[in-house]
């Protein structure tokens, strides 16, 4: 990873100093071992602060919505980010001509919670990845452990570790070894109705309506979200379970057939609602009912909710 980190700095420097890009979006490091965050560099001299480490999890493509679209922007994309980028492209929210994409192969990123759970976080200064291992650095000494043990759940089921779109690929493609991603959904599907209802009610009742799941989502790219509209006010602001249900049903429904399954919503939810399971329920059903469809990857296929076949399965009448 060290090497990739260096290449990343070089191409960032190159694209800014050559004028190919006016801004580079990459990652920087904060004081804590787990703090890697999006960075926006316009000065070639600032590219030295860019990093690539096991915590560079933020999807950078979503920022293209906010940045003034006239600027030519260079951007680093992981596999999941690339899918999100493609979805935004499909939604007409980014201009392919105005971005320079550097692809980063990524076989997984580290979930700080797993490091903490393993009791490795106390006094931890830095975590580095070497081959398949993580090296944990402390004031005194270091420890090693298999990297995959600490990956985010979303990374373990990742099916696109290598970007599907880029102008330049940085580093070697990594192998793809996803675990079954619908396991949780399938399990929930078989639990009794009432149990399922209380499961979701419990999770939804924790929701604080911070909208982080929406704001981080590359498929949520509306200029103004219906949840924010004052007229008509679809979503009330009361602390009322039915409204939270409305929010989560509608959010998932709006990204149905568009969700690239990057898992960011679930990752950043501050209260731990398993949002990805909602999205994956739709993905699973769409795959079963209308044929396999990978949003962000299957660019030659029409989005499942924007097309139909005359012999589609019928809506059972609830009997």
């Amino acid at each position: 990873m060290k090497q990739l980190s260096e290449i990343l700095k070089e191409v960032a420097f190159g694209s800014l100093s050559s004028g190919e890009a006016e801004m580079v979006i990459g990652w920087q490091k904060g004081p804590f071992w787990w703090q890697s965050f999006p960075a926006f560099i316009t000065d070639p001299g600032g590219t030295g602060s860019l990093i690539w480490d096991p915590f560079s999890v933020s999807n950078l493509s979503k920022y293209l919505l906010k940045e003034v679209p006239e600027k030519k922007i260079a951007l680093f994309l992981k596999g999941c980010d690339a899918l999100g980028f493609n979805q935004m492209l499909r939604d007409g929210r980014v201009d392919r001509e105005k971005v320079l994409l550097f692809g980063i192969p990524c076989d997984g990123l580290v979930d700080p919670a797993r490091v903490e759970a393993a009791g490795l976080s106390k006094g931890l200064l830095q975590v580095k990845k070497e081959q398949e291992e993580l090296i944990f650095y402390y004031k005194k000494g270091q420890r090693k452990a298999p990297a995959r043990d600490f990956y985010y759940a979303k990374c373990l089921s990742c099916r696109y570790p290598n970007p599907v779109i880029y102008d330049q690929m940085l580093g070697e493609a990594v192998p793809c070894q996803p675990v079954e991603r619908f396991a949780d959904v399938s399990k929930l599907e078989t639990t009794p109705l009432e149990e399922r209802f209380s499961y979701w009610s419990r999770h939804f009742s924790r929701c604080i309506r911070c909208f982080a799941c929406r704001n981080v989502c590359p498929a949520c790219s509306c200029r103004e979200c219906i949840f924010d509209l004052a007229e008509p006010r679809w979503l009330g602001k009361a602390n009322e379970l039915s409204e939270t249900q409305f929010y989560h049903i509608t959010r998932a429904y709006h990204v149905a057939g568009r969700c690239v399954d990057c898992g960011e919503c679930a990752r950043i939810c501050p209260v731990g609602i398993p949002l990805a399971e909602l999205n994956r329920k739709f993905i699973k059903d769409i795959n079963e009912l209308y044929g396999e469809y990978d949003a962000g990857a299957d660019l030659d296929k029409e989005a499942p909710l924007l097309t139909f076949k005359t012999d589609d399965p019928d809506v059972s009448s609830g009997s």
Binding site: G92, R93, I226, L229, A303
Partner: protein, 659 residues
């Protein structure tokens, strides 16, 4: 605060028997924004209507709710009532308390409760109704007819006779189409050319018709009343003005290629007129086979032409034309028989398609009308006609009936016997379908007077056997497998849509069925209209058809076009979608779900933080939109809304109906 008036109809006893009118009136009077509530025995009667009108004026009502029968019944009546009192009709809402209430419920208390709920719902919606106005769309009073077969010819003539300008675009060098290839026509045995050529000439000479042969429609933009088409006039390499049609050029031309018009049974020259009665009777140079163009040698025709009409440098001409209406009459093709190896078609020269047979009996055809076997130019004695080759065949062909084969095969059996009284026709059929005026009689004549032997059953295989063809089939009526030694086998190959029909459909924004035939707007009630307003269908491009049907559909399509063109302006349905550009994200999902191509993308410029930025948004063409509202649901931020059924209105209805 709105000023809503509610008018409750008794409908004689129809409503009043099951619904407590007084109770409902009282409850309605207390609903939010309702300032007036009254009832009457027959609201739709003159007295009832004047009651409403008076109340609108006296009480200064700004919304009206009529609780009566189904809106599908009297909505228009009450719209007019409101309009007469100066209220925009779209401020009226109907609560259906008859069909959906008093007639389906027995218990008076229940029905009364439901009637109140329905009225409350209508009141809630009405409060959010807005004035709507039908917009006027000017109509370009010209028509475009695509396809110069009998359908296109008839439509063009009818529209032109009604006094409108028509452009008729035909892809091949001459108009005439399939009908020009035929010899006789069933069931009267009229000579096809004799009845067609006068019409072709009429088209050419009609002062309202401009003929574009050897031309294609490349692009169609716009919408009903305002289409703009791009027409490519391909280079003919012959000056239409100078050419006299003397024929020296094609006499001298050294290049020979298979004649499309004669179904490849003979050769034509590289410079050619497809058939002697062609309109215009001016040759074209087929550049793909002309030596001048393929090898940059030759030039004989130019030297030979006494009129100096040959022009090798002619270029394609691209025209932009505006039209109010379009008639599509692009005809059909014959199914490719590659998958039907058992008939030896293509392997034995005496196995023919019906269209080839047609050319062989045609006096302008390759044999001058003497029916001769292509193999040895001898007259055939036994001819086997096989029906349903690819028709009614789900596995290798088309599941539909090609409709005309039964009749033309009977015709062929008759023509055979007329040419050779000793010859025997055998017809293998699955069912005989003779639904048409004089069709059954014609078929029976073939059997009874012309001695054609009809065998109900299929042919399993045709074996070339010396100079004969051994046909093995079955007569399922007698239960016998049969063998016939034939001199000629004629296959009634299925009719199919033109292979490029889907492209044309895309270009025009109309739809096709699973077999690529253009789809009509309604199979029963709007059979000559396409789904896209202002586009009409004629002939076999919509499905297999015979000549009389094609002609009547063409006249029907022409009549529809004339109705459209005779208006200066079109009034559009005001309940159409609209886009709130500030909310529109430009994902254009709406375009994907619109069945009418009524949504398009446009670029707007706006200032964001002091910078002028361009972005794409959706735009609804009100002339094309039919108001289904599918786009509104595909729009996640709710930027697309359907006037008359807005999100706000329906949400208010939901809130009110759930109380």
């Amino acid at each position: 605060m709105r000023r809503i008036g509610v008018f409750i109809c008794w409908c004689g006893t129809n409503i009043a028997n099951t619904v407590n009118i007084e109770g409902v009136t009282e409850a309605a009077g207390k609903m939010p924004s309702v300032i007036y509530a009254d009832n009457y025995k027959y609201m739709c009667s003159e007295i009832g209507q004047s009651m409403i009108k008076e109340a609108i004026i006296k009480e200064k009502l700004d919304r009206v709710v009529v609780a009566a029968c189904s809106p599908r019944m009297h909505e228009l009546t009450f719209f007019k009532t409101a309009a007469a009192a100066g209220l925009n009709p779209y401020l009226v809402e109907i609560a259906n308390i008859r069909e959906h209430c008093s007639w389906v419920h027995k218990d008076k208390q229940e029905a009364t409760g439901k009637a109140i709920a329905l009225i409350r719902t209508a009141v809630a919606k009405a409060a959010r109704n807005k004035e709507l106005w039908a917009t006027q769309i000017p109509v370009e009073c010209r028509a475009l007819v695509i396809g110069g077969g009998i359908g296109g010819i008839q439509a063009a003539l009818d529209i032109a006779d009604a006094g409108f300008e028509v452009d008729l675009v035909e892809r091949t060098p001459s108009i005439g189409g399939r009908m020009a290839q035929l010899d006789k026509t069933f069931p009267t045995l009229d000579c096809s050319a004799c009845i067609l050529t006068p019409k072709m000439v009429e088209v050419a000479s009609h002062h309202n018709i401009t003929l574009y042969t050897f031309s294609e429609v490349e692009k169609v933009d716009g919408f009903v009343g305002n289409f703009e088409a791009t027409i490519r006039k391909k280079a003919r390499s012959i000056d239409l003005e100078k050419c006299t049609g003397c024929g020296i050029c094609w006499e001298k031309c050294p290049s020979r290629v298979k004649s499309e018009f004669d179904e490849a049974l003979v050769m034509r020259k590289a410079v050619y007129v497809p058939f002697p009665q062609a309109v215009p009777n001016v040759p074209v140079i087929d550049r793909a086979s002309c030596r001048r163009f393929t090898r940059e040698k030759c030039g004989i025709c130019r030297k030979a032409c006494p009129a100096g009409a040959v022009n090798y440098d002619q270029e394609d001409e691209v025209l932009q034309k505006k039209y109010g209406a379009i008639v599509v009459a692009t005809g059909f093709d014959i199914l490719d028989l590659d998958d039907f190896g058992e008939f030896s078609y293509g392997k034995h020269p005496d196995v023919l398609t019906s269209l080839e047979f047609e050319r062989l009996v045609n006096s302008s055809g390759p044999t001058g009308g003497r029916l001769l076997r292509p193999s040895d130019q001898s007259p055939p004695k036994n001819v086997v006609f096989i029906q349903c080759v690819g028709s009614r065949d789900k596995s290798r062909g088309k599941p539909y009936c090609s409709k005309i084969c039964c009749m033309y095969s009977a015709k062929h059996a008759i023509l055979l016997r007329e040419k050779y009284p000793e010859a025997q026709a055998y017809v293998f059929y699955i069912d005989i379908r003779t639904a048409g005026k004089d069709f059954e009689e014609f078929h029976r004549r073939a059997v009874e007077e012309y001695g054609a032997l009809y065998l109900k059953g299929s042919v399993g295989k045709v074996f070339p056997d010396g100079d004969k063809l051994l046909v093995k089939g079955v007569d399922s009526l007698s239960g016998h497998a049969v063998e016939i030694e034939a001199d000629m086998v004629v296959l009634a190959a299925a009719i199919k849509a033109k292979s490029d029909a889907p492209q044309l459909a895309r270009l025009l924004g109309i739809s096709t069925d699973t077999h690529s035939f253009f789809t009509e707007a309604h199979p029963k009630l709007r059979p000559v209209e396409a789904h896209t307003a202002g586009i009409f269908l004629a002939g076999a491009c919509q499905g297999p058809k015979d000549i009389p049907e094609t002609v009547s559909q063409a006249s029907g399509a022409a009549a529809k076009a004339i109705i459209l063109l005779s208006k200066d302006n079109l009034l559009s349905n005001p309940c159409v979608s609209e886009v709130n550009e500030s909310l529109c994200t430009g994902c254009l999902s709406c375009i994907k779900v619109c069945p009418y191509g009524a949504v398009a993308e446009k670029t707007i410029e706006e200032k964001i933080h002091g910078k002028a930025l361009k972005r794409r948004v959706a735009e609804v063409n009100e002339a094309l939109c039919q108001g289904c509202g599918s786009c509104t649901v595909s729009c996640r931020p709710g930027a697309v809304n359907l006037k008359g059924f807005t999100n706000e209105q329906i949400m208010a209805e939901v809130d009110a109906i759930c109380l």
